[in-house]
Point group: C2
Chain length 522, copies 2
């Protein structure tokens, strides 16, 4: 049995029960697992471990490294208190709560960098790598499932490897992956990838069979992602972006088929990508870290020609569709290690157009992607920094308001900065687009306030800038008032001021922000 799943004959004797294998994991161990944005994650052994800990009430806490967020494993491990350390990304409400309480040491990290850290030995010894696989080749090569994540470097550096063969993963996944692992320095060579769909490595993760100490079987599917439908806000954002891109192509500032797109994970960004179905562009390419439903919709519609990613993170129905039609995607889609999908070298070379979601942006275009009120971690920076810093064009999207208008996403001063203004070329809300390229901070403030802000907040923001500029500085601020909106929200549950300024000097100053209608700078 499992001849097609475990092709190395000697390894067939290493199929063990999950219960047996979880018993090898002890307090203080460093465990590195497959899994990226809830797909292709190791699902069996760690869950069995958490069952053991529930039963025995023992004190066992592991240090857990992954590609990015795991499926329900992150939740279960957090609930049982099994993790002492987590890296490099998560998006699970319960885990987030434990992190914010300081119970779990969480290091959120640029997703391209974890592999370098592991390679350098900065995390010390990795006791076990636990890797979900479609199959194992004759030579011990591990064929991943729906993501690649950091699995190649984990397999290379871990003392021992446990493979979770997922029988629900169709064998047709073989050939989707392209595994390339940069050499350790100082022997590093250029990464020979020059086109989105180039195959530069092997279709499996190379692994010496001796290193595979156990194989367990599972059949659990990926946790389905929930994608909200497009709404008028996301529709408007998509239109602004497309209008802008068309304009740039006309001016010769972007190639005709534009650069490969990167689209950050999330409902808003997924909906923005959906909007490209009605765009004038064809032969689009994706060079991105995660393919959500919209990516496959565009492949099916023929709008997207080629796609490179690190994972498929799909709704249940889209997952069924994709996994049963892999044959038709296989020469158009590549799954890569996150070190390559997010690599600065490639992102810069290809001229990626990066579209990521912002939690909060300030009037100068500094972006907070992670911390609510500057303190509470939401998910993590993920790959947004890998892409925004190195992209040919870095676009951030956010609704202008949240919570029914009680929060403005555009604030005087961001309470946390993940992306300094240097890495933010364009910002889009449902109200308009701010093209910040080549503008000084004072000019950026005018562009942002003119085009992005909700009317409920506009006057007060203009008044803030007016007073800040009277104090001087390249990036003017009234530091003592910079977070007044946040304090108001914390105190009254609403960022809006009860009193609106109406003095004539304010109105005069305000007039320069009212150059409407105005969307794209010509």
């Amino acid at each position: 049995m499992f001849e097609d799943r475990i092709r190395n004959v000697s390894l067939r004797s290493r199929v063990l029960s999950v219960d047996e294998v979880q018993g090898w994991i002890h307090d203080g161990m460093t465990i590195a697992v497959s899994g990226f944005t809830k797909s292709g994650d190791a699902k069996a052994v760690l869950k069995a471990l958490s069952r053991r800990i529930s039963e025995t009430n023992e004190h066992t806490r592991i240090r857990l490294l992954s590609g990015a967020s795991l499926g329900d494993t992150d939740k279960i491990l957090a609930e049982k208190g099994v993790m002492s350390f987590r890296l490099p990304f998560q998006s699970e409400p319960f885990l987030r709560d434990r992190i914010n309480r300081g119970d779990i040491e969480y290091v959120d990290q640029h997703l391209s960098e974890t592999a370098e850290w592991v390679r350098s030995g900065w995390f010390g010894k990795i006791d076990f790598a636990i890797i979900e696989a479609t199959a194992i080749t004759e030579d011990g090569g591990i064929i991943p499932t729906t993501s690649v994540g950091n699995s190649p470097i984990f397999v290379e550096k871990a003392d021992k490897v446990i493979v979770e063969i997922n029988l629900s993963a169709p064998l047709d996944l073989e050939g989707v992956h392209d595994i390339y692992v940069p050499a350790a320095r100082p022997h590093r060579k250029p990464i020979p990838l020059v086109n989105v769909a180039d195959r530069i490595g092997t279709p499996y993760i190379p692994c010496s069979p001796e290193k595979i100490v156990a194989i367990v079987l599972s059949a659990e599917e990926d946790t389905p992602s929930t994608v909200s439908a497009a709404d008028p806000d996301t529709h408007a954002m998509a239109e602004f972006i497309q209008e802008f891109l068309v304009h740039e192509v006309r001016r010769g500032r972007l190639p005709r088929h534009i650069g490969p797109l990167q689209i950050g994970i999330g409902s808003v960004t997924n909906a923005v990508l959906s909007g490209f179905e009605n765009s004038p562009f064809d032969r689009l390419e994706l060079y991105t870290e995660v393919m959500q439903d919209a990516a496959f919709e565009l492949l099916d519609a023929g709008k997207v020609q080629l796609a490179s990613s690190c994972s498929f993170t799909l709704s249940r129905s889209m997952r069924e569709h994709v996994l049963s039609h892999l044959g038709q995607y296989k020469n158009r889609v590549v799954l890569r290690p996150q070190e390559i999908s997010n690599h600065p070298e490639i992102v810069r070379r290809l001229g990626v157009i990066a579209i990521n979601a912002a939690l909060e942006v300030d009037i100068y275009g500094n972006v907070n992607s992670t911390h609510v009120f500057g303190t509470r971690m939401m998910n993590g920076i993920g790959g947004s920094g890998d892409f925004a810093r190195n992209a040919a064009l870095s676009i951030f999207v956010t609704r202008s308001i949240e919570k029914g208008g009680r929060i403005s996403s555009i604030v005087p001063f961001a309470t946390h900065v993940d992306h300094p203004e240097h890495d933010v070329d364009v910002i889009v809300t449902e109200r308009g687009i701010a093209d910040l390229r080549g503008l000084s901070p004072r000019q950026r403030a005018r562009e942002i306030i003119s085009h992005l802000v909700h009317p409920d907040y506009k006057d007060e923001l203009i008044e803030y800038v007016r007073r800040a500029e009277s104090l001087g500085g390249h990036t003017p601020h009234v530091l003592s008032e910079a977070w007044d909106w946040h304090f108001r929200m914390l105190k009254y549950g609403d960022m809006r001021s009860l009193v609106h300024a109406a003095q004539s000097d304010v109105l005069e100053f305000a007039s320069q922000y009212r150059r409407e209608p105005f969307r794209v700078r010509r």
Copy 2:
């Protein structure tokens, strides 16, 4: 005459007077000039322009692009009000003042990125490129002087090129430069540089002779840089860094000769580099954007074997020494365009160890490199972001206090963030070293407060963290008090508190920060 300086015969007739050439420059033009950190800058035509404007009182303002800071030209142009726009870096007090008053639109930019922006046409037409040169080859190739900066892309994209032949530049500079310009996308290929001293391009900037509309002659030397001598603080910082690097090599986490070093510009960083003269390392390499005096001292001492840079920025005496001994440096030193010296692809590939100066760091390791009190521009981000984001190891140095102790460089919350904590691995002051790799924010705060902070500020910082943690959050803060030190400084001229907390719970909480002596994490 000038056969050796203007080798293309047809171009000899284009030698014109500076006064004639400056007359071609009119209001609103975009001018792109050579020059990087005050060296190799075009010195003649723009100064003549400013003389004209002084005499005529005409309204002429140009948009000025460069490599980085210019010599006294930046000062003269700022004084005469000749600039409306300046990019991508400056370090001139008078210009800085005009920028902070909002008189000049200044865009400070990652220094590797300006070339991409010019290539994409985002700045519109460049009317003239003005390039300082040692000589012009038979084919029109321009041999730069003491820096390369953005000259190659300026020459490629400008409508017309003016060459300033500097007769004080020794002809021996020929062969020092290596000019490689990445192709426009989507035809970009990997940059074939795999060793610090690899030569991958031409020793001159290719230029069609027809494009060179004028040649002017000058003999003005580069504005000398002023370097402060090492002092006990910089000596201590150098020792901490070396102790740390030795430790990392012993653990096998760095190669034996460590990675190539990048050292940011400035007196402190120059002194820190000087300290490597007494280090146990040999065969060191530099992959950096600027070589100051210390770089050549280490070359002379045989500590540094090979160096790649974008400019020589030297004191008068070191400049004389270097320019009269170019023969002995030529096979050990390369000057490259800043797009290559700072390129993410190369910095990441080579595993550069980046050492840059911070203006202010906060307890979580976010770094402010540019804005005093979050508003007033000092110089600009320069190349620090190119290196810190992509380096194998990103180190920031700062004195723990400034202004005789009235300012702490380590504050609860940075008033401006250029480098988010993700890009900051190690911070060094004269008091110790904080190794932040793999630590959560709460752990980072302990490491930073334990090892870097001056005693005058330690108790209050501990108390701040204690109260912040009681409010919760992944990155705890008391937002309403986060900038109290800055407000104190603005009001009383001193960040220090008059009252020191001494409650027993504070002392107990404080005990965990007192694990001394402690320098390098084992």
